[in-house]
């Protein structure tokens, strides 16, 4: 159970007693989490604890069944919504393994995403020229060559380039809540620093982050306000940034739970 003192202050995300399963296997077993606007929460834990599942369940991926509980994003219950509605409600999941989609250009994908969200808010779509300008700026911001806008979505991108492309989407979509799923995986220190700088540049009082990570090292670059340890589908310990250091020193062995089957990552 989270030890963050509940306050009456407005929450960005409130997860209450969330139980979820995939292929009839219970993964989340009573997750509670409260994230205030502007806060950065890190969720750490051993493999199989349910870290990636948390991101998938919140973002509405097919095949993940909510058995019980609720998740309220900025005052709106999202668990009954389709994935695209959750995105339009302001949720953004940066994928651990961004999908390659040859034949769909990155620019077309970015514009369709932004258009869909603007339309949902009753705003007019950008013209192609207006959007191209924004996309170019975002591209520069994440240090990707402009040619990446023309290429197929993530097609042939390196691990670091894919993560920067996720960041570019985040910049353009301006979500309320960003979930970063193992954003550091497969990145060397330099690439991680670039991504971390990008994330830090997006921190603001009305945007919250949940950083899902196995290792502490990303948290050297993105300073969390709170660190939670997820084990066997629920949060077993919460603390401030120093908890991550503690975990690094001691590992997860003190959680006397056996790691469950690896069910995160690619469910194909």
């Amino acid at each position: 159970m989270s030890n963050i003192t509940p306050t009456t202050e407005k929450s960005m995300l409130t997860i209450t007693d969330l139980h979820a399963s995939v292929e009839e296997k219970n993964i989340l077993k009573g997750l509670n989490l409260d994230v205030k606007p502007g806060e950065v929460h890190a969720i750490m834990g051993p493999n199989g604890a349910g870290k990636s599942t948390t991101g998938y369940v919140l973002s509405g991926r097919d095949g993940y069944t909510v058995e019980k509980g609720s998740a309220v994003l900025d005052g709106v219950e999202i668990l009954e919504m389709e994935a695209e509605e959750r995105a339009r409600a302001g949720l953004f999941l940066a994928f651990q393994y961004p999908v390659e989609i040859p034949g769909v250009s990155n620019l077309e994908f970015l514009k369709a995403s932004v258009d869909a969200q603007r339309e949902a808010r009753g705003e007019v779509a950008y013209t192609s020229a207006e959007f191209l300008k924004l996309a170019k700026e975002a591209c520069k911001q994440v240090d990707l060559p402009l040619a990446f806008l023309k290429r197929g979505v993530n097609e042939g991108f390196s691990g670091g380039e894919k993560k920067r492309n996720e960041l570019m989407q985040m910049i353009l979509l301006k979500p309320k809540l960003c979930i970063l799923d193992e954003t550091d995986s497969g990145l060397d220190i330099d690439a991680m620093q670039v991504v971390a700088n990008g994330v830090n540049s997006q921190r603001s009082p009305d945007r919250s982050f949940i950083i899902v990570t196995h290792y502490q090292r990303l948290l050297d670059y993105i300073k969390p306000d709170f660190v939670h340890v997820l084990s066997d589908g629920k949060i077993v310990k919460s603390g401030d940034a120093s908890l991550a250091k503690e975990l690094e020193a001691e590992g997860y062995a003190w959680i006397h739970n056996e790691p469950k089957d690896e069910l995160e990552g690619d469910l194909l």
Partner: protein
Amino acid sequence: MSVWLENAIARANSTSDWLSPIRSVSLAALKDTPWPTRKTEAWRYTSLKSLERATLSPSPSVNQDTPEQIDGFESFNLVFRNGEFDLDSLTQPLPAGLMISYLPTASEEMKQASLDEFSQIKPGRHLFGLINDVLAQHVVRIEVAEGVSISQAIRITSLIGLNSESHTRVFVKLNKGASLTVSEHYQGNVESLNTGFVEYDICAEAKLEHYRFALQTDKAISLGGCHFKLGERADLNSTLVGFGSDLSRVDTDIIYDGEFATAKLNAFYLLDGKELFDLHATVEHAVPNCTTLENVRGIVADRAKAVFNGRIHIHRHAQKTLAELNNRNLLLSDKAEINTKPELEIYADDVRCAHGATVAEIDKHALYYLESRGISRSKAQVMLNFGFINELIDQMPNQVLAEWIRPQIRNRFAEMEVTR
């Protein structure tokens, strides 16, 4: 035998010109070839009924159409109207090393030399190839001299009018180390018949970039082919785009004649309504060390029908062959049909080959990725379906042609309904 074919043979019999020696050989072969029925393997899924029923006239109607402008495409334009070659095509100044000849008015020596080349690459088993042999009169020959690279493309356009027949024939020779881009364009939607055959002799170290836009629709019947022979270290990059009509078929052959040659063939078709498109592609690995990459994709909607037969034949001595053949199809309705038959016939033991044919499903992972960004499921499906074909447009080496065909494919795709 069909009435149309009987008339065609009678017509061929009464024609006497420099092509007569070839014509008589092909006529003899034609007389021995039974008119295809459902039981004829090469025509099992493609009925010739629309040809049998069509009202066609051998004397061409007047046709003043002009080829569609392709902005930014630098090309020498060769135009056939109802099968007749537009002699104005020959007035454009050509760079050194490029020769374009209209054979009926060429010198006797050239005619004689051409007879030795004629129908040497196109295999004799193609019924409409034989028909083209006996009916083609306006034959054009293109040659690029040894070591010469022609930067401007050659665009061959075949225009056809109501009830017309067009039997165009082109022979292209790239001498050693030459390079050239050829783009074949077939269009039309009125009741008509077009047999357009092109033979390509790509000599050692020569490089051909090739496009065939088989864009006939509705009642325009098209039964043509393109046939390539590759010498040592020759390189072919071919893109074939097909729309469907009542009857539309392309036969293509790639024949390796020298080692270390490579061919990349990308083909895609989009079919709607009751359209049919049939692609028969044969690759003959007759020598060792050659590489074939063949990627064929289709989107078939409504009650349309696609036929694909891809045969890769690796001869006994063709060791170290690398051959990949892939046919993927998206069916947008329950009544849409794909008849696909990839055939690998391997007689050598040291080769790397892969082949597959699938009715593709939308990648669920990709769908979720798009949805997770706020894109609706229906819009995401459209993007992914179009992306399936667009990927091959992206691979077209000529950017101008890619940007010319992309909106046409997009429009055609936009009109298709997803009902499954």
